[in-house]
Symmetry: C2
DNA sequence: ATTATTTTGTTCATTAAGTTGACAAAATAA
DNA sequence: TTATTTTGTCAACTTAATGAACAAAATAAT
């Protein structure tokens, strides 16, 4: 995650970033003005980028007085970027052009949750995607996984919700495909996706919160992910909400995750069900009670029902959004972000959870930092993770392309 | 706070930073090796820096084989940097050499806490310091103040513990001395001081926590302070500890500050006193009871007594360190810092509070991020603020010096 | 319709910054 | 005393960026 470009490539990088930002295209003159460079310099670097087939010219558009400029945009037929991310028990794969347009999507469902299946499906999916690349692939694959990841080694240190420890993702991928993977936490990947292509575009201080079975966040400043000393930065699931709260999987009491994750949502609903069963009144008709009895209940279903107007589901969602609101207001008070994006399995079905969290956070956050923060639902939904993972190849491995293309 | 140097000054900046880090001096060859530059380049830039009187040569030290290198260090007699910070009801002023050696110190006590007195004392103190500068002053003054500061405008937006709103610090200083001030929150200034000269030297992800009447933090990554959308990042005093906790000055319940600030410490001790008074037993002898009766009690005294072994004081300190430990463990879990430094009025008298916080945090934080964090007491103590403020001139306004000296 | 104006992208000479290679100076090791 | 190693500097060369000049392509003015 350290953008470690040689200093002489700095202008090239900046120019590329500017081109990246406007899908309709930017002219050389506009870039020169914005980056405070001479048109000559921009022109020279632009021809280099065009020789590398990273950038191409569009039809010149006539708008004002003077000779019309020729818009430049990222090539959409030469280079491609591959990202994978694991959500809701399956691997999502996305192949994009340089500007993030999705070219190909794929999903691999897992039959169980063993480590071997996890790795095998990943390899299977990558192999499948590699066949479809209609050009050159940037020689790096972004991979979002559950748990705490050491991105230097590409090893999942621990993934509590899966019950895993020390899962090496790096070696199998490298050995099978001779392409280095960049492995990171899936919610952090999703955060990067939102920052680049979603509702975080152009936001300088951003927090993405992924709410699924676990709860994690990504702190992103100026497009750069805060990693912390061992890549654990963002693990807000174990923020303490109430010292007297319920037992969390980590062994402590009152963690956010114990109140408000997908697992907690299911627990709350089941408690409600039991107490109704124990009561005297007849059980009112409800899809969710059937789901409990059929053992088909999952957190996403509860959220979907809530969005449909199912009162019981809404109540449960309101319950978990209290602690989420507390956590969000803590983040607002202490980190003063410009925008907070709520994503993950519990947010994707609709904006209800985000609305509830916003309402709670407004009650609890300080006025000054709250007035300057926007709280929004994830825009990319379940695609955020794989898209974010796919940003890593271009974002951090431009050096890999340059020698490859410069030499030829 | 945006180090916005022209790209061509990047090497100069890096070389200066390397020289800055070693007080004993670094040779040109060592710098070249470290920064991966040619010795020629370093030599050229070094002569420029020497012409600017920012750097000077020391006696060459003979250690290994080969021609001995000539150590370079920051000049200590040409340029000086002035910082001011407001703590414990008085302004602290520090004049330093470029490498942070303190040349002159001064303190201005305030007779009250009106805004006018606050500004007048600041101007008075600066005037006094300016007389003592034994060379050229970097034309920027770093100023640490209570409250939320907009560092773009130099205005204190609000300082709740002082009861102030919209205090313009920038204009009076600029008008009187024709030197632009850089204004920031005092605890953030102290954090920068620790990061540069104190126990945060060389630490890449650092959190400084200042505990006084209020509680604030500075999040510093690679020497750069996280500011947030409106410079509020670090206001951890209003982190929610317990939704059912005591009323905080901000109108909400259970904020960290309501439990654990200096004001809370005094409240806790007084409650203890009242309950003892109400009891049947005779009041045991204690300096603190006298202080309450004489109205000379302040938070620092309680801390000092605790360090002396006063049981009542220790109990009170233990009480506030529970919530501080919760807050610290939240920061560890979510931000995964390399080091946490505890400073402020309640920490300066001794390491007791830090030790108590460390113990609490160990109980509550997750093992993985806790194992990689060091929790240490502030090294610079009450000098941290003014020293940190004094780092700003050099750190962010090198551009100001360069035109001044290049021209001549 | 024609000319003037504006803006773009390119060509060419120039400048600035950094690199390589050679070399004298100053230390230790043989 | 000589060989080796390391440092700092000088000269020649390379590279990236700039500014000035200019043709091309649009609109505005006459």
């Amino acid at each position: 995650m350290r953008p470690n470009l040689a200093p002489e490539m700095k202008n090239m990088w900046n120019i590329l970033s500017m081109i990246e930002k406007t899908s309709t295209g930017t002219t050389r003159a506009a870039i020169a003005k914005q980056l405070d460079l001479s048109r000559t310099t921009v022109s020279n670097i632009a021809t280099q980028l065009m020789n590398m087939k990273l950038v191409e010219e569009l039809e010149s558009e006539v708008n004002g007085r003077g000779r019309p400029g020729i818009p430049l945009r990222l090539t959409d037929s030469e280079w491609f970027s591959l990202g994978a991310s694991f959500h809701g028990g399956c691997w999502h794969f996305i192949l994009t052009t340089l500007d993030g347009t999705i070219v190909q999507e794929h999903r691999e469902s897992l039959a169980g949750d063993s480590v071997d299946l996890f790795i095998d499906s990943l390899l299977e999916g990558i192999a499948c995607m590699l066949k479809t690349v209609p050009g050159k692939l940037i020689p790096l694959i972004g991979i979002g996984t559950p748990g705490l990841v050491n991105s230097d080694t590409g090893v999942i240190v621990r993934a509590d919700d899966m019950g895993w420890k020390k899962v090496d993702v790096y070696t199998p991928v490298l050995e099978r495909f001779s392409i280095a993977p960049f492995v990171l936490n899936r919610h952090r990947a999703a955060g990067l996706g939102e920052a680049r292509f979603g509702s975080g575009k152009g936001v300088s201080s951003l927090i993405y919160i992924g709410i699924g079975n676990g709860i994690s966040a990504a702190f992103i400043n100026d497009g750069i992910l805060l990693e912390g000393a061992n890549f654990c930065a963002g693990e807000i699931g174990h923020m303490l909400i109430d010292p007297n709260g319920p037992l969390c999987g980590c062994g402590r009491y009152g963690c956010l995750q114990a109140y408000s994750s997908g697992l907690a949502l299911i627990r709350i609903l089941k408690e409600r069900y039991s107490s109704l069963l124990a009561g005297e009144d007849p059980l009112p008709e409800n899809v969710l009670w059937n789901a409990i009895e059929n053992k088909t209940l999952n957190a996403e279903l509860i959220v979907k029902e809530a969005i449909q107007g199912n009162d019981v589901a809404i109540e449960c969602l309101e319950k978990i959004s209290i602690q989420l609101g507390i956590a969000v207001s803590n983040l607002i008070n202490t980190l003063n972000p410009q925008k907070i994006i709520i994503g993950g399995t519990l947010s994707n079905p609709g904006s209800l959870l985000t609305d509830l969290i916003r309402k709670e956070a407004e009650r609890r956050a300080m006025r000054s930092p709250f007035s300057s923060v926007q709280i929004e639902q994830s825009y990319l939904g379940y695609k955020a993770g794989a898209l974010g993972a796919a940003t890593l190849p271009l974002r951090h491995k431009l050096e890999l392309i340059l020698p490859l293309t410069n030499g030829s």
